[in-house]
Subunit: 324 residues, 2 copies
């Protein structure tokens, strides 16, 4: 269980992805884990370049994330926000004072022509994160949410409008012109297994898969026999965090882990279901055409994250052994 050596690539969005990545990082040997992170949520606000999912993943891996909210930093203050309000500027996106340093330095370095992956790598060093964290791309591929209130940028939909508009679909702007960030395809080529974290399939994982080359690399590696497993972000018809369940319903689908498995159809050799959804195991197995692990997938604290990661790695290893 300890000092595990398989080379794992995790695809992650924000909170759920960050938590499983943290669990994996607690178990895997240094150098074995690469986390490829969604950048579709990235946006510019007050002239700052903000990468919410990258920050959530890095802060969580560094052990400095806010465990209550899932985003932002622990022991954070919001004094700048108070002063911004006094100046009458829009205050719907909450920026912590400590968190501001991240946005300020990233913005300046990007404007100086450095890449998001280089900046992220340097931040990880500064924060003591040994896991390799890669943005899906160094290009910008902003997620546009098509809704009954029109086309909205992701943060406009997610934070400003509290996910209230009904979604009709999604669009990853400029994704067809984007390049995978350095290391993304290489890490997939080199992986012993890929884990799609319990993140929102529509707006966390799909943006990563939309970067040209990523989905193909995943399909090719799957065909070569490595294990690709998705962990359901839907538990008992609900998302642990965020609008995933609401999105399924608004798109005319059932909000179930079976639909999650269907969403990734053709890309998986295994699926992880929460024990609450154990009754769906046979259907999921048929849909994903692979193995199914039914287990407790809630990750309330660091210990639980480690426990879930451990079971998933066991699952992968066991199937590998079965195949061998």
């Amino acid at each position: 269980m300890q000092n595990r050596n398989p080379k794992i690539v995790a695809l992650a969005g924000g909170v759920g992805g960050a938590r499983l990545a943290d669990g994996l990082a607690q178990i895997l040997n240094p150098g074995c884990l690469t986390v490829i992170v969604n950048i579709g949520d990235d946006f510019e606000h007050y002239g700052l370049f903000i990468s919410p999912d990258l920050d959530t993943v890095c802060y969580t891996l560094a052990g400095i994330g806010n465990p209550e909210t899932g985003w932002g930093l622990i022991d954070e203050s919001f004094h700048m926000m108070e002063s911004l309000r006094q100046l009458g500027v829009p205050d719907w996106f909450n920026l912590g004072d400590r968190d501001m340093a991240t946005h300020l330095v990233r913005t300046q370095r990007l404007k100086n022509g450095e890449s998001l992956s280089q900046v992220t790598s340097d931040f990880c060093k500064a924060w003591g994160v040994s896991t390799r964290v890669l943005p899906a791309s160094d290009d910008r591929i902003p997620t546009i949410v098509l809704t009954d209130k029109g086309s909205l940028s992701f943060q406009e939909y997610f934070v400003h409008l509290h996910c209230e508009p009904k979604v009709r679909g999604f669009y990853f702007k400029n994704a067809n012109k984007a390049w995978p960030a350095p290391g993304v395809l290489e890490s997939l080529e080199d992986a012993d297994g890929v884990i799609i974290c319990p993140s929102n399939p529509w707006v966390s994982i799909d943006p990563i898969l939309s970067v040209p080359g990523v989905r193909d690399a995943l399909a090719r590696r799957l065909a070569q026999g490595i294990f690709v497993v998705a962990v359901s972000p839907i538990i008992g018809g609900k998302a642990v965090k965020g609008p995933a369940a609401k999105m399924f319903v608004e798109l005319g689908l059932n909000a179930t882990s079976l639909e999650v498995a269907r969403h990734y159809q053709g890309l998986l050799s295994g699926f992880v279901l929460d024990k609450v959804d154990g009754h769906l195991a046979q259907d999921v197995k048929q849909v994903c055409g692979g193995e199914v692990l039914v287990t407790d997938t809630l990750m309330r604290d660091r210990g639980a994250r480690r426990g879930v990661a451990d079971k998933i790695l066991d699952f992968i290893t066991k199937i590998e052994v079965d195949r061998g």
Copy 2:
């Protein structure tokens, strides 16, 4: 003493200028006071446009300035700075968390093409400052300090190098191409009196006077008989704050209020000396060719600021009466 109605223009740098401006604002009727502020210290840091003297003047007038340091805000925190240090970026310029809102909004608005004077006016409204605060220019005229360590930007000299290099002279870059901000010449034309605040003559007042049209307007108004009075920033051979005294010495001059009067020669009809320097009154009178007020000029608290302002306004009125 109260509800005074003369139209006064004050030329101000940072702390000393802000304090006298606050004293004047406590006494003069709304609409009677215009403060023209040095922008030679303005600089870009972490991609932010920072206007130290404008902020000091506005914060002081708003009653939210830090009375201990003279700069920044009261009840300020520095959490962002702690995080910046962790990211290994230069931390020689201290930015408070609340103060950050000012820089962030100003930066964004300037980048959107708005003028510094428009932004300053809106900030003053938001902070409840009824005094008209004008940057000397909406153009950038960065002060360059010529030193024995080479040419340095002002903040590099002032904050980063703690004023340690020996000054040889000053240069206000692009000043010859700058325009006075809207209201600057108009307020001078309309003034009943001009007060040069106890600010650094070399790097606070001279940058204002270097904006084409300002010095001429002042000379013309002086010739028309309005009262132009300077308040010495040097008291007993020392500056209350900042490197003014050190600069006089390094430029081969005595650090005395007499040298301050000589610096403004031809521009004044009166001079305000601290009582510590009372013995210089006759010499100062000869140099400036006008009246001299000897009084306590230290402004430790808001009451003292009001007291000094009151005596200066008395001084102006009395001389006006004498003339009449």
